[in-house]
């Protein structure tokens, strides 16, 4: 059976060249970079090279790279790191607890820690709404800023609906605020895990202070993440021990992972213009083809979206059933349906764009990648209509499309 993997936003396969470059660091070059002997120094040199390479992709300095275990840890380090470092500064002032601003469409790795901190009264949290395309308004953000705001965290591109946020505009608005108020705060964090393979990561253009990346979405290894931490920032470490990563993240370096992340980022950034153009054509063919099926809506922004992301809702059907029918045809995708989540909650991202429960229920996400060919898109477009038809026949729901406009 034909197999079409369209779940690259969940994770990507490793690029053969990346694997090749990692390989020696599992066996012959296995030493600990902290060791004071020749093999240790060799490992350290390799890690330093990787640090420099990533820093240059980010237009940053090597000493601003903090390696950790993945995107989730990197997000957590940014959030807890800033808040714990700032808590004391705020305590005793008229504000008592620090304030944080985020958006309603963030990844759980950002929302969960922030909601936890808000629930335990460690912070006051503002969650910015998004428009029907999933974008926040910079003016909303400006209005939400307060003297005690210590952190703004807005993702670069959304993992579910692919919408790209105006990160550079937010960054500029924050620079202006800091200047007017003669303060260093708030710091600006952005989760760029989904964006890293496709968008510009220049931290000077984006004006971010903290940037999260990981390996497993850019054809690199799993289990490696990075937090860019701008020089001069105060960050409280969350994992203490041997003092690696300038004391910000202790633990013996994951040398093969670091080498792999650097290799993956180099390849992704070097090839991105060509690959983006190719993917956008395929993406738009898939979107346009799917929208010819009746009662279907596109989730996310029509143009300001990741080149590889397609997310549509088929009204009146439930997404998990659709994913399983597609699976039987060798098409692998994902859904925002409540039924497919362990908590039985539909996608918070799709709900945040203002559509109904049912639209989230019937949402399917296809994320394209290196392996995707035009013939794959053709196969998907040939296969889906019958599945949608069958599930609609089985469905007692028949909603009026006007509710989803």
């Amino acid at each position: 059976m034909r197999q079409v993997y369209l779940d690259h936003a969940a994770t990507t396969p490793i690029h053969p060249e990346v694997l090749e470059r990692m390989q020696p660091f599992f066996s012959e070059k296995f030493a600990n970079p902290s060791s004071f002997h020749t093999p240790g120094l060799e490992a350290k040199k390799a890690v330093d090279e990787a640090r420099k390479s990533i820093a240059s992709s980010l237009n940053a300095h090597a000493d601003e790279m903090v390696f950790c275990s993945g995107g989730t840890e990197s997000d957590n380090l940014a959030i807890f790191g800033v808040i714990r470092a700032q808590q004391h500064a705020v305590r005793g002032t008229q504000y008592e607890i620090p304030h944080v601003i985020t958006s309603s469409v963030e990844h759980h790795a950002v929302l969960e820690p922030l909601q936890y901190l808000a629930k335990t009264k460690a912070i006051d949290l503002t969650v910015l709404p998004v428009d029907k395309f999933g974008k926040i308004a910079v003016s909303d953000l400006e209005e939400a800023l307060r003297p005690e705001t210590v952190l703004v965290s807005v993702m670069y591109a959304n993992n579910e609906i692919g919408t790209i946020q105006p990160i550079a505009d937010i960054g500029r608005a924050l620079l202006k605020w800091r200047k007017t108020n003669a303060t260093q705060l708030p710091y600006f964090h952005s989760d760029a895990c989904q964006a890293a393979g496709a968008l510009d990561l220049d931290v000077e253009k984006l004006h971010v202070d903290l940037l999260t990346l990981n390996g497993s979405k850019i054809y690199g290894p799993k289990g490696i993440g990075l937090l860019f931490v701008r020089r001069g920032m105060k960050l409280a470490p969350q994992i203490r021990g041997g003092g690696q990563e300038r004391g910000l993240r202790s633990g013996t370096e994951n040398v093969p992972g670091i080498i792999g992340l650097a290799a993956a980022l180099e390849l992704a950034q070097a090839g991105k213009d060509k690959e983006n153009a190719r993917l956008i054509r395929l993406r738009d063919d898939l979107i346009n083809g799917l929208l010819t099926i009746g009662k279907t809506r596109l989730n996310g922004h029509p143009t300001e979206r990741l080149p590889n992301n397609v997310n549509v809702s088929f009204m009146d059907i439930e997404g998990e059933a659709a994913v399983l029918y597609l699976d039987a045809k060798g098409i692998y995708c994902s859904t925002g349906s409540a039924c497919a989540s362990s908590s039985l909650d539909p996608s918070h991202v799709i709900l945040a764009t203002g559509v109904s429960y049912e639209a989230a229920h019937g949402s399917l996400r296809f994320t394209l990648g290196h392996s995707t060919r035009p013939s794959d898109i053709g196969y998907v477009l040939k296969t889906i209509p019958d599945i949608v038809k069958k599930l609609r026949q089985m469905s007692p729901v028949n909603l009026d499309m006007r509710h989803f406009a």
């Binding site: 439930e318 409540a338 039985l344 007692p396 729901v397």
Partner: protein, 219 residues
């Protein structure tokens, strides 16, 4: 969505050759659903039950045709807006109530989700509530049949009775909470806040939790 649980198959198929999210029987009924309603035109007069899942906002419709002499179900059709488990368990239910000459309405009322699940070779734990949908819709359809037949004495309305006067929580609320997976007092309280201001009702709440767990899950 990459936060979704991409777990390994909850159930390994009997043949052991393939690991899938569901058992072979679930898979069979999911891909080849039996008795789903394709043409409602000849069912306008049939008894019908409609329910929504409290858990995930799904909807289910069940139609039955009944022999008035024997009160046996001769036909059962359904539609669902639900996941693979909901489709498979309703399909299986429609087979069970009509096979071997059909169940009597009294027998059908005793059908438990647990029996459907046994025939399906199990469902993943977090999918158990889906199998409850069809069964509830069936009972609603049975009531509808009796109502249409003018046999109001046989209509079993599922009334709510207030258990905690302070929060106005009823036995039905507790039933729904249990169906949603709240299987301990703590979890039910997290959902309903029942008995927090009025602990005197807690023994009864605990008893109801046990009762509904037994009723729906046989434990």
């Amino acid at each position: 969505m990459d936060t979704d649980n991409k777990q390994a198959g909850d159930i390994v198929s009997r043949t052991g050759t393939q690991s899938w999210f569901y058992s072979d029987a679930v898979k069979d009924h999911f891909f080849n659903p039996r008795n789903f309603m394709q043409d409602e035109s000849s069912y306008a007069d049939a008894a019908m039950g409609l329910v929504g899942s409290p858990a995930c906002g799904d909807a289910m419709k069940v139609w039955i045709k009944v022999d008035p002499e024997t009160e046996r179900i001769i036909d059962c059709k359904w539609k669902t807006f639900g996941c693979g488990s909901a489709i498979a368990s309703t399909s299986m239910m429609s087979v069970m109530v009509t096979e071997n000459g059909g169940m009597t309405l009294d027998e059908a009322r005793l059908l438990k989700p647990q029996h459907i699940m046994e025939r399906l070779g199990g469902l993943p734990a977090r999918k158990i509530h889906c199998s409850v949908l069809g069964d509830k819709a069936l009972r609603a359809a049975i009531n509808d049949w009796y109502r249409r037949a003018g046999r109001l004495d046989k209509v079993e309305e599922e009334h709510g009775r207030i258990v905690d006067p302070e929060t106005k929580v009823t036995d039905k609320d507790i039933e729904h909470a249990v169906l949603d997976g709240a299987d301990t007092l703590e979890k039910v309280q997290a959902k309903l806040k029942v008995g927090i201001g009025n602990p005197s009702c807690i023994p009864e709440v605990e008893q109801l939790i046990r009762f509904y767990k037994e009723k729906y899950f046989g434990v």
